[in-house]
Symmetry: C2
DNA sequence: TTGAAAGCGATACCAG
DNA sequence: CTGGTATCGCTTTCAA
């Protein structure tokens, strides 16, 4: 039925071994012979059987990318960057590697499930993105799983995510704490004093770090603990909308709000708009990711620019195993980018 | 080294065949026996070898999703929807299927490359998204490839994309023509007469259909051919920005602009803003996809709501082969959704 | 430089 | 309901 390597060998009058060598190009083959083989491949329209190849070679051309949500451009940008690296050559037979994108919805147990699935596929590498849980149990299970993956030859890279203890994985963490600190410090320097905060989901490392940075900046100005003006919310616009309403009810006179990411910031903007409050005239809103969509649509948004593309590309290269040592930690720093008319606090 | 099915069999004191049956659950096995096997699996921390399994069974648990750009929420939303369907059960061994997301950048030749790669993986199905080329040659090559994929047992689904001639693939095309017609008709009903158009890339089916709809609406009002006020642009904000500048130079008095998608619309908004023109006060801008991001950020945007999630979910289900006949064409209609303050044309 | 042949690990048919 | 085993298609020593 389907053409196999043996068919190609027969047609080219060579042994299967030779065909394999030509296809993988990792072994010397005489010019004329290779020509003959390639012609046979073309004639028969032969396509390698990936699973068979992976079985024999004990490794595949698949690279897993774990994200919370593919529809979220934050992860989309990272995934695209990773793929741009793994796609360009390097795979077995000079072919390209394929990206297996897995949406975990941020659930730790689904993270483990997908890692098992990728282990089953004998994936060449796995890139874990997004914030990790603070949950001890899950962190432990995750570390164990990662260790097993590495043992079975799958490289693991943590992109925009803190390092995992006692693990040979390579980490590329964002400096969320410093970013948040600078963001709030910026608002303070503009004269804002009543700064509300829409933090991310609880028990996430990212949430904690950004919140800590926020606190540090306030503390540096001898301002009270921000807890009363802090609301936790999931990373969705709708949550940002409701969080903003809640914050307005707590303090109608707030002059600025720092949101844990751009989606929340946009939701906050919508809530303010619907409450008849102008942005940034009355209230300054800040995001954290600086996604093209949000910053282009809302030019008055002040954001910490997280270098998602750079981090993703780097993660892709590390996944290929062409650079980086096991257990290495390479911090990726965000950059505060002020744009538009986010101005000083309003009088009154 | 790594634990194999044989190891499990040995530990459970059964034959490999039995272990396989327990794992795949598609064959009767006595209660106590299955218990013993499952315990052995757990004890040994056994993980199936995907490639070996795929080789023997002649099919894999992979589903390919071809998109132009993962970072674009338009495709992200579709990919997420597809994955939500293929992820929930149904795979071999009750496991889940994995989504292999391939970014083609809209290049037809990369589309072919990825299809070959997926064929090599013996993917269970492939979902093609985005607009197709108008190029005869590529369309032919693509159809041939799709035919070969179907022959080798890979189901092919076209999501938001016109049917491929002489192909057993199932198509879920968007009714771009009708959507565009309604959009322009809507602007006309508001009194707009100088309507500019930022069309998508040339030689794309989507571009042609949307442009045709635009023309039809204008023709129904005896308005002149829109060509002089039409600019082609790639689907990126930057292109929309420049296109808008170009259009303004052609007609400073235009009162509305229909953009081929939301990214272009946002770019157009930015250009208008920078030119000191208020949106929608002076000029109405319309998009086409109604992505959450853009509509939330720019509430005055009038858009045709394309049911991306619904189409993606449907595509996912069709990919699983649980419904749909080969060659079936299921049109997906967009819905005009007017929001915000897009109002009548300004006086003067 | 090329060929022969022994696996890789799971599946599924055929017996029992 | 369970076991034995040929087979899937390719890779990779080992020889020649």
């Amino acid at each position: 039925m389907t053409v196999t390597l043996a068919d190609v060998a027969a047609r080219a009058q060579v042994s299967p071994a030779t065909v394999s060598r030509v296809l993988n190009g990792n072994y010397p083959v005489a010019g004329p012979t290779r020509e003959r083989v390639l012609r046979a491949v073309a004639d028969l329209d032969y396509v390698v059987n990936g699973p068979a190849s992976a079985l024999a070679a004990a490794t595949s051309d698949l690279v897993g990318i774990l994200v919370a949500d593919i529809a979220d451009p934050f992860f989309g940008i990272i995934a695209a960057a990773v793929q741009s690296q793994i796609g360009s050559g390097g795979g077995r037979g000079g072919g390209e590697r394929l990206a297996v994108v897995c949406a975990t919805g941020g659930a730790p147990e689904r993270e483990l499930t997908y890692l098992t699935l990728l282990q089953r596929q004998r994936a060449a590498a796995v890139v874990l993105t997004g914030s990790g849980t603070e949950d001890r149990e899950h962190t432990g299970a995750l570390a164990a799983k990662v260790r097993r993956l590495e043992e079975s030859g799958t490289r693991v890279v943590l992109c925009g995510r803190p390092p995992l203890k006692d693990t040979p994985s390579i980490a590329l963490p964002f400096d969320n704490r410093a970013g948040a600190r600078e963001l709030t410090a910026h608002l303070l320097s503009l004269g804002h004093r009543r700064i509300a905060c829409i933090a991310g989901p609880e028990d996430r490392t990212t949430t904690r770090h950004r919140l800590e940075g926020h606190r540090e900046a306030l503390a540096a100005h001898q301002l009270p603990d921000p807890a009363p003006l802090t609301v936790h919310a999931s990373y969705e616009r709708g949550s940002g909308y409701h969080a903003m309403q809640e914050l307005l009810s707590r303090d109608p006179d707030l002059t600025a709000v720092v949101a844990a990411n751009d989606s929340l910031a946009l939701g906050a903007c919508a809530a303010l708009r619907d409450a008849g409050i102008s942005v940034p005239g009355d209230v300054s809103v800040t995001g954290f990711d600086d996604l093209p969509f949000s910053s282009d649509a809302v030019p008055s948004l002040t954001t910490v620019h997280l270098p998602l593309t750079e981090a993703g590309q780097r993660a892709g290269r590390l996944a290929l195993g062409q650079e980086g040592r096991a257990g290495e930690v390479i911090p990726v720093t965000g950059e505060l980018r002020v744009r538009g008319s986010t101005g000083p606090v309003r009088a009154g």
